[in-house]
């Protein structure tokens, strides 16, 4: 329908509007000031230990090209996604069961309620003792970190489904299966994806700490190892990599959520 030049014009219009808006320039000014102050502080000799932005920009490519840098990404992501996947399956199944049946909920929920306030990292020693390999230990920790937010959000999502929709479905003669597929799932999906996005953030946090405390590879270990060898550039690179990894994962979750719930847009 739309001729090519039209789309082009539209894109140009959007970009030029973005370029003309104050938001972009002020944002850039803020970030540039941040780096500039940092650089000046270094020049003035206030910060002896932290490398300046220019030194970082020079040193980081070398660190990245080291062997094993990308392997750390793979190792950490594998742990994060393994624990996250198990937590998602368990959280969704248990959440749905608890959401559908009041009795089961009253029996199971308090059990989780007792464990929830314990910070995930406090499980580390017990997990090391219990699981035969350090890989499983870290996957278990990420599972613990991700499980509770997913479960709580599934429950909140099911609770949020308007009972009128249920009643309408019932009076239209819907079966249990249809009620589940057409009413409960679409109703709970937005909340579920909120939970998943929160959970993936927590899993990165947990895996980093677990790797620092007991790992032998992965991004967290890389950061810790740089600390041991007093390589400040390595530490900052580790922090940046972890930040980017976490951001990318939540972005993936958001996109998946948008695709799965098109009516929310």
């Amino acid at each position: 329908m739309t001729p090519l030049w039209d789309t082009k014009w539209f894109l140009w219009e959007r970009w030029s509007r973005r370029l003309r808006s104050a938001v972009l320039w002020q944002g850039l000014a803020g970030i540039i000031t941040f780096f500039f102050v940092w650089q000046v502080a270094r020049w003035l000799g206030w910060m002896v230990i932290i490398p300046s932005p220019i030194e970082l920009a020079g040193g980081i490519p070398e660190e990245i090209s080291r062997t094993g840098y990308w392997q750390n990404w793979v190792d950490s992501s594998r742990r994060v996604f393994a624990g996250f996947a198990v937590a998602a399956v368990a959280g969704i199944v248990i959440g749905v069961v608890m959401g559908m049946s009041k009795g089961l909920r009253a029996t199971i929920f308090p059990l989780f309620e007792v464990m929830r306030p314990i910070p995930p990292l406090a499980w580390l020693p017990l997990a090391i003792l219990f699981w035969p390999s350090s890989e499983l230990t870290m996957i278990f920790l990420t599972f613990i970190g991700a499980f509770f937010p997913i479960l709580l959000n599934v429950l909140a999502g099911i609770d949020k489904v308007d009972p009128r929709y249920r009643l309408a479905a019932l009076s239209l003669g819907s079966s249990h299966g249809a009620m589940f597929r057409r009413v409960l799932i679409p109703g709970a999906l937005p909340s579920l994806f909120t939970g998943l996005a929160i959970a993936i953030g927590i899993t990165w946090e947990v895996v980093i700490a677990a790797e620092m405390a007991s790992g032998t590879n992965g991004l967290g270990y890389m950061t810790w190892d740089s600390y041991m060898t007093h390589s400040m550039i390595g530490i900052v690179l580790g922090m940046l990599s972890i930040g980017i990894a976490g951001m990318a994962s939540s972005w993936i979750m958001r996109v998946v959520g948008q695709v799965a719930t098109p009516w929310q847009r």
Binding site: G30, F130, M212
Partner: protein, 314 residues
């Protein structure tokens, strides 16, 4: 936030149809379900989750606790399944915890136990205090002034994705002493949670209030004190609760990796010394403290926001 749609089918339809239905006449399941939905729609989403979590289910929680201990006992003491026999049993933990002469040095009668608790509490309170003292004003400024927001918020967004615990090596190198680096790591996450929720809180205030204040000739300081601060309060307290939770979370990580005292250290040290019951004692203590501190914030929040009878609409 968005106003509720005027669709009677939508969640939280108007109060009028609630009353004209007079739900009490038909005291059957369905009407009760509807009424329930209205009441829940009146509370915020977090309020609902909160209600679900703490509410009046103390009895159920106690039941859950008992069930948990029984399952734990069966798994570790009665069956001694492979791998489970590495874990300390509830009996061992309990005898250790209440013994006057504990085998591994930690029980309710030893001063060192309370020292670890106090060290951890002091760190959390210090970090939380700094995070709130810095985060709430920053959040209010960000929400209040558009230019300030445009300038500063990108920097916040630049630093926020880095998990607090990834800062541990950095903090240990930069800051003098273990104490300040643990506190720094603990306050980071709490700080960002406070800033973001305060910002959302300021944004959630209806424009009508600003217009009304303007019409009534409020000075800027009055707008701040009478519109922005009370209006943002509910979100601020949601933020504080999240901040308290993440403080404990990061504290444990910081103490495990870098600390030489505190409950996180106690747990990891117990692991190193193979003093297994102490691990569980530390975990339970942490869980209790975390639970009590968020319950405390909820109390303060409810007390400060007594005007919000049923909570804001989401």
């Amino acid at each position: 936030m968005r106003t509720q749609p005027l669709d009677p089918m939508a969640l939280g339809g108007s109060d009028a149809d609630d009353r004209s239905d007079s739900p009490r006449r038909y005291a059957d399941e369905r009407e009760k379900a509807l009424l329930d939905a209205h009441q829940r729609a009146a509370g915020s989403e977090t309020g609902r989750v909160r209600q679900m979590l703490v509410g009046s289910n103390l009895r159920y929680t106690a039941l859950g606790f008992v069930a948990f201990v029984i399952v734990w006992y069966i798994l570790t003491d009665l069956l001694t399944l492979p791998r489970f026999n590495f874990l300390p049993s509830p009996v061992a933990v309990f005898t250790q915890w209440t013994s006057t002469d504990p085998q591994y040095g930690i029980s309710v009668f030893t001063p060192i136990y309370y020292e670890h608790i106090l060290v951890s509490i002091r760190r959390v309170l210090l970090a939380f205090g700094i995070a709130v003292a810095a985060g709430v004003p920053l959040g209010i400024l960000l929400g209040w002034n558009r230019t300030f927001y445009n300038l500063v918020f990108p920097i916040v967004e630049l630093l926020r994705p880095i998990p607090p615990l990834a800062w541990v090596p950095f903090a240990v190198l930069i800051l003098p002493g273990v104490e300040s680096s643990v506190v720094f790591v603990t306050l980071l996450a709490a700080f960002f949670a406070t800033v973001l929720n305060t910002l959302l809180g300021v944004w959630s205030i209806s424009d009508d209030y600003f217009r009304a204040a303007h019409c009534l000739g409020y000075r800027r300081i009055d707008v701040l004190m009478r519109v922005i601060v009370p209006g943002a309060m509910p979100y601020v307290f949601t933020g504080l609760q999240i901040a308290m939770g993440v403080s404990w979370f990061s504290l444990v990580g910081g103490e495990m990796i870098a600390g030489r005292s505190g409950l996180g250290f106690l747990i990891f040290d117990a692991y190193m010394q193979v003093a297994l019951p102490n691990i569980v004692i530390g975990m339970i203590t942490l869980g209790l403290l975390g639970y009590l501190s968020s319950a405390g914030i909820r109390r303060v929040g409810a007390w400060l926001m007594a005007w919000q009878e049923k909570g804001r609409s989401a």
